[in-house]
């Protein structure tokens, strides 16, 4: 990728062929919370005078990673742990720092990450407060003592993930049946069709619906902090972009991320409004 730098003899950036007229192309997953972060990036950059193009709601990682690699998308809010597992399924890294470091290694040429935020949105095993109280649960390991049959709810692919049912058994000796509850996992947990659920830690319903996130002493899950995935050109060449985005990452706290999600689901605010207000509140606009 060195050939793509600005010391091109003709002074033209022709080899990348993407991001026409120098706009920064920001992508997001088809996940409202991710989209809010992407929108915050976008508005922050626009505030700094950058030209921005939005390519939101792209479903799968393997759909958008190639586009980042090709340069068709140049900036994408990501999560360290999940992203690392995408490139290195066998990784042993668990703590936020280790994961961030490992991620730097694992990323393919041409992609890099900016500073990670303290806000995280990672997988967890969660139970209802009532169930936790009844079975005195605080950690995943405690599940081994529960006498009734455990049914784990989560997205269909959890069945095959290293931290899925197999991981539970191997690491904690907990046996579960699996139910692919998908997008309604939290409802299923509340309704009782499952009693353990794979929930993202930034999900506001952990608070509103009285859920308990079980501790993970054996680090079954990777830490997964919000991190901007960028194409190297952007990071290198337009340092202003890095500055702006790093400022956002610094201001985004775990509680802040949940608050953003609450604004979206409970207050039903539109994504641009949420982003705008957050930037104002954090003095970034």
């Amino acid at each position: 990728m060195t050939g793509c730098s600005s010391d091109d003899p003709l002074g033209e950036n022709e080899s990348t062929g993407e991001a026409a007229n120098g706009a920064i192309v920001i992508g997001s997953q088809a996940y409202y919370s991710n989209e809010i972060i992407a929108e915050i990036y976008a508005q922050a950059l626009e505030g700094a005078g950058q030209e921005v193009e939005r390519r939101f709601s792209i479903g799968q990682r393997d759909a958008y990673i190639p586009e980042l690699e090709s340069g068709a998308i140049t900036l994408f809010p990501e999560y360290t742990g999940n992203l690392l597992q995408f490139f290195d399924a066998e990784t042993e890294a668990r703590s936020p720092e280790d994961v961030y470091a490992a991620l730097g290694e694992a990323l393919p040429d041409g992609l890099t990450v900016l500073e990670q935020s303290t806000a995280s949105d990672q997988d967890s095993y969660t139970v209802t407060k009532a169930f936790a109280d009844a079975n005195s649960l605080t950690s995943i390991a405690d599940l081994a003592n529960v006498s009734e049959t455990l049914t784990l709810g989560g997205p269909p692919e959890l069945a095959e993930r290293p931290y899925g049912p197999t991981g539970l058994e191997d690491v904690y000796g907990v046996q579960v049946e699996f139910s692919a509850t998908g997008d309604t996992t939290v409802e299923d947990l509340v309704a009782g069709t499952v009693n353990v659920a794979n929930v993202f830690t930034a999900d506001p319903r952990i608070q509103t619906d009285d859920l308990v996130v079980l501790e993970d002493p054996e680090s079954l899950f990777l830490a997964s902090n919000v991190v901007p995935l960028v194409s190297e050109d952007i990071a290198d060449e337009v340092s202003e972009v890095s500055e702006v985005i790093n400022a956002v990452s610094a201001a985004l706290t775990p509680e802040g991320l949940i608050a953003l999600n609450v604004q979206s689901t409970v207050d039903q605010m539109s994504t641009p409004d949420i982003a705008k207000q957050w930037l104002e509140d954090n003095g970034l606009s």
Binding site: Q60, D62, G153, P156, E157, G182, T184, T193
Partner: protein, 234 residues
């Protein structure tokens, strides 16, 4: 076509045919939802379609309704109904979605089957002294059957392909390997699931095609086969 052979390998792996999500189990779920939904839709649409065909009334309403039902995106409707009914009633939500999908072709098959009958035949049936019920059961129903089965055929085809989305709301079926495969980037699994759905659809379609042929009354079949003394002109 590397992918295809991988998909084939996945399909033929005995592991896929054991356990709680064994393919035969998913296949059965797919069929089960199809049968229930088409069955309920038929109970609603066929008598309605027959009533429309027999009386000649209400056709406009039926056409408008069928058009609107066809315009409703199944995926969106399923999501909406799951939100409305709650997670404990996902199967009901799914069944309602598929019933709405199956009604338009069944309705159209039922009434157009009657409409396609030569008016003079029905008129003659009345003129020889058949009661309305006799006209319905002895003349209209048997003669309208081929088009009704045609409608059933396209209802089944559409529903069986669409039941795939049931996996989104944890109802299993052959959509499960498809969406799991998508998340895991295992395209041979996606393709394997898709192939199973397509094969299932084709088998059902072939069976119903036979049924459709069997539904054509003998005398009408004779007319199609021989075309005796038919003018070449018209």
């Amino acid at each position: 076509m590397n992918l295809l052979s991988e998909a084939f390998a996945w399909l033929t792996d005995p592991e896929q045919w054991t356990g709680p999500n064994a393919l035969q189990h998913l296949l059965f779920q797919q069929l089960y939802f199809t049968a229930i939904a088409v069955g309920i839709a038929a109970v609603i649409a066929v008598p309605l379609g027959w009533a429309i065909g027999h009386t000649g009334k209400g056709r406009e309403v039926a056409v408008a309704f069928a058009g609107a039902a066809r315009a409703v995106p199944s995926f969106g409707l399923l999501v909406l109904l799951v939100l409305l009914f709650g997670v404990l009633h996902k199967p009901e939500a799914a069944v309602v979605t598929f019933v709405i999908l199956a009604i338009p072709p069944l309705l159209a098959g039922a009434y157009s089957g009657f409409e396609a009958i030569d008016r003079r035949t029905v008129d003659a049936a009345r003129a020889v002294g058949m009661t309305e019920a006799q006209v319905l059961w002895r003349v209209e129903v048997p003669l309208g059957l081929p088009l009704l089965v045609g409608g059933l055929r396209s209802a089944v085809l559409q529903v069986v392909a669409t039941v795939t989305i049931a996996a989104y709301v944890n109802l299993g079926g052959l959509g499960l390997p498809i969406i799991t495969g998508l998340s895991l980037r295992r395209y041979e699994v996606v393709l394997g699931g898709a192939v199973l759905v397509a094969v299932l659809a084709l088998v059902l379609d072939a069976l119903l095609a036979l049924a459709q042929r069997a539904a054509v009354p003998h005398g009408v079949l004779a007319a199609q086969g021989h075309a005796p003394r038919r003018r070449t002109e018209s």
